[in-house]
């Protein structure tokens, strides 16, 4: 029983981690909560759905298409709604982000209607495997596997490539990085692209997991992923991964012990608690403001 819930929790948590990574990277670099990130996740799910349902692509290709589409989407959003406000007040940028989020979810509502759509059966044949006295579906394995691969890929990019170094420099100190010759605009766009790609993958996986893709899936998942990012320490990539997993596991166990109707509230309770008790999260750094 415990093992079963743990497996469920890790699978769910992996998807949260994928989304949380986008939040944390963007926040780390331009200190903005990309409110529209949840909608990018949603868009990824829909693109994946379309690719499988209409173009009959296999799930991996569909996911790749979703990732590419959302990468472009993320870059465009940053360019239109956040870049012009970089010198404005934080409130303006936040409101702009909310505007984008509202716009996108309404657009999805208009285009796809209010009903949730499911992936067609041929998208992925899920089989049950047994480990001890727990079942794990191949779908869950897929989720965990894909998430792990993507996260390792991200770590590699951030730690071992030149662009990754630029990302880390810019998130440490924006102005100094610019003075050192880093093309800050490009780095920011790249960060958005990476985060969006991961969110898109998350979208497809969640869509498969719950067999439901709808216009408003972005809000809830986005908020939970944000809670995960904060839990792990906003700005910290390993933190987002850890936070996502922890949140997934906590949510699953919470439901298992009887709080199913408060399922969504669990993430928020964690969020509020973390922000009040230890705002830097588990792995985050404390940033002292220079006066």
């Amino acid at each position: 029983m415990f093992l079963q819930q743990l497996i469920n929790g890790i699978a769910l948590g992996s998807t949260y981690a994928l989304i949380a990574l986008g939040y944390t990277m963007v926040y780390g670099i331009i200190a903005l909560i990309n409110f529209a990130h949840g909608e990018i996740f949603m868009a990824g799910a829909f693109v994946g759905l379309l690719m499988v349902g209409v173009f009959k692509l296999n799930i991996f290709l569909a996911m790749a298409c979703a990732m590419i589409f959302c990468m472009v989407m993320g870059v465009v959003i940053e360019f239109i709604a956040y870049r012009p406000l970089r010198k404005s007040s934080r409130l303006s940028a936040l409101i702009s982000a909310i505007g984008v989020s509202t716009f996108l979810s309404s657009l999805a509502l208009m285009v796809f209607g209010a009903n949730a759509k499911g992936f067609p059966d041929q998208a992925f044949h899920s089989r049950q495997l047994h480990i001890g006295d727990a079942d794990i579906s191949t779908l869950q394995l897929l989720i965990i596997g894909v998430s792990a691969v993507l996260m390792i890929g991200l770590e590699f990019i951030v730690q071992k490539t030149k662009i990754g170094k630029a990302m880390r420099a810019t998130s440490e100190d924006y102005n100094t990085a610019a003075l050192m010759g880093v093309n800050v605009n490009f780095v920011i766009s790249f960060t958005f692209a990476l985060g969006s790609a991961l969110a898109a993958a998350g979208g497809v996986l969640v869509g498969l997991l719950f067999n439901a893709v709808s216009f408003n899936m972005g809000l809830m998942a986005g908020l939970k992923a944000f809670a995960a990012a904060v839990l792990g320490g906003i700005g910290s990539i390993p933190g987002a991964m850890l936070g996502g997993l922890l949140l997934g596991v906590t949510e699953v166990f919470g439901v298992a012990i009887g709080y199913s109707s408060y399922r969504d509230a669990i993430a928020f309770a964690i969020l509020v608690l973390v922000l009040l008790v230890r705002p830097t999260g588990l792995l985050g750094r404390k940033i002292l403001k220079k006066v």
């Binding site: 409101i95 909310i98 505007g99 809000l219 922000l275």
Partner: protein
Amino acid sequence: MLHGLVNSIDPYFLQILVNIGIGITLALGLNIITGLTGQLSLGHAAFMSVGAFAGAILTLKTGTPFYLNLVLSGLITAAVGALIGWPILRLTGDYLAICTLGFAEIVKVVFLNMDITNKALGLTVPTPQTALPMPVIVLIVAVIMIIASTFIQNSRFGRALKAIRDDEIAAESMGISIARYKVQAFAVSTFMAGVGGCLYAHFLGYINPSDFGFLKSVDMLSMIVLGGLGSIPGAVFGATILSAAPEVLRFMSQYRMLVYGALMVFLMVFRPNGLLGGVNFTDLVLRKLGVKPRGAVRGQEEKY
């Protein structure tokens, strides 16, 4: 007699007017915390719902007269606001916003599961028997809120809020206790949300926790953004336009949120002061009162 007057007005038109009145109350409330103090609250709808349910339960379970009910709903909501605000308002902008959003969701979930709020079925609220007809009450409340907001804006209290908005560190260095003022602003803001919610519950006749979700908060945010953050005429203007719009533009209701979203981005990028922002009413008023720089202090300027 007033009842007769009110009943002679077309009920559809009346409904729009009442929506505007309630919208003004709600928008002005949000304006205090977000426009004036600069703290983005994405949970205004949750406080509206606290007021709505408090008012509804008071009417249904006790015999409290409506006017008292209205004030009590406001006070209860303000108390909840102060309680929530105290720990949360310590957070900086982005986190605060998300936290208010999280809190709003928690409230919704809790109300959907409580017996006293009738869970997901919602509550039906009977129209209260009052001497004045409801629309007149709504109008009076809206006017009171406008006056109160104007008074607040140009007072020592309001200046402290504006200082916090513009630069917290400088404000604190001028002797302003950030935590205290933020909580007080939040309490005022949630009081108004509660009153608005109570009016909403009694006018509409039926409330359900799902009505007060994030979208409703975005609705109210759009009102003050449209009119110009921090501007009272702006809030009134925004509330009027966006309360009337859903009715008047009913045929394009699916486009409504689409337009709001695009509008918010557009306004922030191109016209952050909103449509009415930049008109400094304080300025005009001060000049009208004859407060001029040199002549203001009779004879004292010679000393310096």
